[in-house]
Symmetry: C2
């Protein structure tokens, strides 16, 4: 059983936190009144408390309670007893390091695969893939493993940028980097543009939002997948 | 003893491979007639042979022989017997993984600290720092450690880009990422712009090229260091 939403970003340019996903989030968490927020990715180094307040403020607007995972003395119990989860964006290396250190990565996966709703944004979506090796983040800490939950059978590259976004002085484009990943790995990669998300309901995995996604598979030319298409490899 | 050149890039926009550094490279390798090329970073996934040919072609123009490290059956002997080294750019994760796997990282450091000339570009410069945690590369493979040679007592961010290079849709700037690194680490970081390099002669460490570098230290505002300045923390 799966009830999962993996979004490229939390915030659209000019928008407010999670606002563009509001109706989707209401639907995802419809049978849940409290959500465990995983603040470990700490964007720009903000504290776990500050980050949790940001999530709490949004979820208050849709009448859901939020508890920060760091608020629990026994985090494994918090995961097991949770009704649903939200993992915020930030630095994927920080997030993955802490999830492995606290032995939470596979425990979280198991709870999500029981059907508990899971929302991920950016780094929180990276950990829904097979591994974190298509993150855009800087390796500011060393995780004990790059493996992630594998809630879907592919990797996600959030905040995907098209070639045309880059000037020549900016070095490797996102496409070049993902192709380098595929020179060493077999896992397909979804280049998920801002405003796009992946919605998983049991066996159905769909690309949502208004934009196509760019799909990278080993030994294939990258191709575009239209919005609202099923994702299947 | 140190005789080291760590460059942001191998190739300036519109230029040819290593050409802007030609006179520096002639000076660096003046007492050497054969250089060991370390091709492990494999930019865009090119083969070790292809990459070595690229280096060989440049060094032929200044009458130096080049052997690819991968051409030796015993790579540790190749490092020990070498007169000098050049590590090319590409993916830092690939490079660091292989250097650790072959037990070469600290052996290479020891040989360089005996005074053998070392040239690094991009990923090859990243490994001259304390660790690889300020690379811009995607983590396409998992190295057994992020530690690098520590030929200098700081980290390098090659291909450093200014804030103004980014459009709002491009996500975290380089500065934001380096500040995230400093939220978790104490090591100073040199943001090395294209066309800049660091020249180490024994105890003297200098920023060279025509541009300033941006320096990031923990709990300090980032600041500019003028070209031809000494680097000292």
């Amino acid at each position: 059983m799966r009830d999962i939403l993996l979004a490229s970003t939390s915030t659209l340019l000019g928008g407010t936190y999670l606002n563009y996903l509001k109706s989707e989030i209401i639907e995802l968490f419809k049978s849940v009144d409290e959500i465990i927020f995983i603040p470990y990715a700490r964007p720009s180094g903000i504290s776990h408390d500050e980050y949790t307040e940001k999530a709490r403020s949004f979820f208050a607007s849709i009448n859901k309670k939020v508890k920060g995972l760091h608020e629990f003395s026994t985090v494994t119990d918090a995961i097991k007893n949770a009704q649903g989860f939200f993992t915020g964006g930030g630095n994927t290396f920080l997030l993955v390091k802490q999830l492995h250190e606290h032995k939470l990565m596979y425990m979280l996966r198991d709870e999500v695969l029981k059907g508990k709703p899971y929302l991920g944004c950016s780094a929180g979506s990276n950990i829904g893939g097979m591994n974190m090796q298509t993150t855009n983040d800087m390796p500011i800490v060393y995780p004990s493993s790059f493996e992630t939950m594998g809630l879907v059978d592919f990797n996600i590259n959030p905040h995907f940028l098209d070639e045309a976004t880059y000037t020549k002085s900016m070095g490797e484009t996102r496409e070049t980097r993902i192709k380098e990943f595929l020179s060493q790995n077999q896992i397909p990669v979804i280049g998920l543009r801002e405003g796009s998300w992946i919605r998983v309901k049991n066996d159905l995995v769909k690309l949502e939002g208004s934009l196509p996604a760019k799909i990278f598979e080993k030994d294939k030319e990258p191709y575009e997948l239209a919005a609202h298409s099923e994702i299947s490899f």
